[in-house]
Symmetry: C2
Subunit: 118 residues, 2 copies
DNA sequence: ACTAGTGTACTATGTAAATATAACACTAGT
DNA sequence: ACTAGTGTTATATTTACATAGTACACTAGT
């Protein structure tokens, strides 16, 4: 995985894991690879990975059993809320951004339509 | 102005100024408020403001005359290219983000359509 | 009991961003 | 010449992020 220079790595890793969860790559209750395994995979320090895990747990997205591993939350409603929240965030930043560039709703609509080739 | 905690402040200021330029709040050739004035207005350190200015000049968006002030580029093509670049960036991050959440183009289209109330 | 694999915690180090503060260099108006 | 207002540069300090390295605590399988 390639990291953006501006945003903290641990946040980018959190987003990646969240994406895997909402898309079903990681299903409800699934075990997540260990801190050590993932820090090797992402080529980051173990502490950075640990921080991502801690934050995800604090947000209720995953839960941890010491000595065993970390798992995706069993609570389906948390997952659907997460997906909702992530898409809402994307939409808002896009619409607000276009507004900030001086495009009105109609123009934004035409532009995105063209971009999606629909 | 309220700053995001994740992105560096000087980048956020650069975006704000760029926005003012592409929307015409700051027109081609306009004088920009001084480093000191803007650092007071945005409530940031002068060095932070200076860094935003340096970067903007390096990117050709503004130019500086020592002892006089900084000005928006006279080159209209730079401005239009800037607008193009900024909207493209917004669109890409939105479309890629939605794709990452598991929405296909059609779904993305319907969602944004609803969000724009069109 | 032992061992391997988990999560967790701690110290130390390096780097980038932002700050406070001060000084320097140039320009225009008086 | 002087002054006020520009951009510019420099030093020191604080904070957050990431890293390296080490050690501890817990669990399951043997």
């Amino acid at each position: 995985m390639q990291f953006n220079t501006t945003a903290p790595i641990y946040l980018q890793i959190m987003d990646k894991i969240k994406n895997d969860i909402v898309t079903g790559v990681l299903a409800r209750g699934d075990r997540i690879d260990s801190v050590r395994a993932l820090s090797a995979k992402f080529e980051v320090n173990m502490n950075t990975m640990q921080r991502a895990f801690s934050e995800l747990e604090r947000q209720g997205v995953i839960f941890t059993q010491r000595g065993i591993g970390s798992f995706v939350t069993e609570d389906e409603s948390v997952i659907s809320a997460l997906k909702e929240e992530m898409s809402t965030k994307l939409i808002e930043s896009f619409v607000c951004g276009m507004e900030g560039l001086g495009y009105n709703k109609n123009e934004t609509f035409q532009i995105i339509r063209k971009a999606l080739e629909i």
